[in-house]
């Protein structure tokens, strides 16, 4: 039996409530991979190497749609750009640890480990073992993700085609997208990106998706400047 440090135990306590919420996303990602024709083994490999749900979903659906390899890779890169922000925000907290520990911290960086750790670090003092806290959470979330995507991939391959499980792919993207749209600029970014993607859909290799994303990002950034620039306008106006 391994004895956990107090910080590691605190990490496990903090991450426990969100583990249940992660079950469906892992299963659905695995099922979507199977629906897109990715084998369970490849899905497990992907979960271990890429370890980022939304980008794994995008990659399998684009590969199934015969997108050009560079389009698949660019989409993965774009969806995972948020990790640059997380990395920048987390870096000052973990600078005192060695390169090996920091590489492991980087590998295990996902939305949940990021959010929980920066909240906790801000409350604790210098003596808090940030590495133990983070790695305890990170390993549990990683294990859960690997097991759930594998389970989803195996189950998905057994289920009959009449269930239309390939519908899981656009459905999960929609479920990820809608809660993101909380401000006017994000609404502008999503609308511009979505509308242009429809217009450009005839372009080969899903090229239209890449152009639409870049224009959507530019439109959102521009809209933010407009909202900010207007005198008296509140910051981050609710879209609804």
């Amino acid at each position: 039996m391994i004895r956990l440090s107090p910080a590691a135990s605190a990490g496990l306590r903090d991450v426990a409530p969100i583990l249940l919420g992660l079950v469906p996303f892992g299963l659905i990602t695995g099922v979507s991979g199977a629906a897109a024709g990715i084998t369970a083994i490849d899905m497990v490999f992907m979960s271990a190497v890429v370890y980022a749900g939304a980008s794994q979903l995008a990659a399998v659906s684009l590969m199934a749609a015969s997108a050009a390899p560079w389009v698949v890779l660019l989409s993965v890169g774009l969806i995972n750009l948020r990790f640059l922000m997380y990395s920048a925000s987390l870096a000052p907290w973990v600078q005192r640890y060695g390169p090996g520990a920091r590489a492991l911290i980087a590998y295990l960086l996902v939305d949940h480990t990021y959010a929980l750790s920066v909240i906790r670090y801000a409350r604790e003092d210098e003596s808090f073992d940030r590495r133990d806290y983070y790695l305890a959470m990170g390993v549990v979330v990683w294990l859960q993700w690997s097991v759930m995507t594998a389970l989803g991939a195996v189950l998905g391959a057994q289920l009959p085609a009449t269930l239309q499980l390939d519908f899981a792919v656009p459905l999960s993207f929609l479920a990820l997208l809608v809660p993101l749209v909380t401000t006017r600029p994000t609404l502008v970014a999503a609308t511009a990106g979505g509308a242009l993607a429809i217009v450009l859909a005839p372009l080969p290799y899903s090229l239209g998706m890449v152009i639409a994303t870049l224009v959507g990002v530019a439109a959102g950034t521009l809209a933010e400047s407009v909202v900010r620039g207007r005198p008296g306008a509140p910051r981050g106006v609710e879209a609804r």
Binding site: I28, D42, F45, M46, V49, V50, A54, A59, S61, P69, V72, L73, G77, I79, N80, L81, R82, F83, L84, M85, Y86, S87, A88, L90, A91, V94, A103, A106, Y107, L109, Q164, F167, A168, P170, L171, S172, L174, A175, L176, L177, V178, L180, T186, A189, A190, G193, G194, A197, I198, A201, G208, M209, A212, T213, G216, V217, A218, A219, G220, T221
Partner: protein, 107 residues
């Protein structure tokens, strides 16, 4: 796609993803992000997800779908559920239920 090609793609996708995660944690303050880039990054998730999902609403196998397409209606219904519930599992169940009942009724 051949399996070695799939594996190569997965390894490259993993390398790109790790480089984003590791950039500041490994290189620390030696990296600087321009403010405009930092602001723009906030809009990437919404734009990229919308750009992926929107053509799935309106085009299937390269052909535009009609306004009474079962999948289109099921996705729009799931969109309303996603907006109200903000929960992946509930949205997923609602969308699949809408699709199955649509096929059972009109399919």
């Amino acid at each position: 796609m051949n399996r070695p090609d799939v594996w190569l793609m997965i390894v490259l996708a993993g390398a790109i993803t790790f480089s984003h995660r590791a950039a500041f944690i490994m290189l620390g303050s030696r990296l600087r992000m321009p403010p405009l880039l930092r602001r723009s990054l906030a809009y990437v998730p919404a734009a990229v997800l919308a750009a992926i999902v929107a053509p799935a609403l309106t085009v299937r196998s390269g052909v535009a779908v009609g306004p009474f397409d079962v999948r289109l209606i099921a996705l729009l219904g799931a969109g309303v559920v996603a907006w109200r519930a903000r929960n992946l599992l509930i949205t997923f169940i609602a969308g699949m239920a809408l699709l199955w009942s649509g096929i059972a009724l009109f399919g």
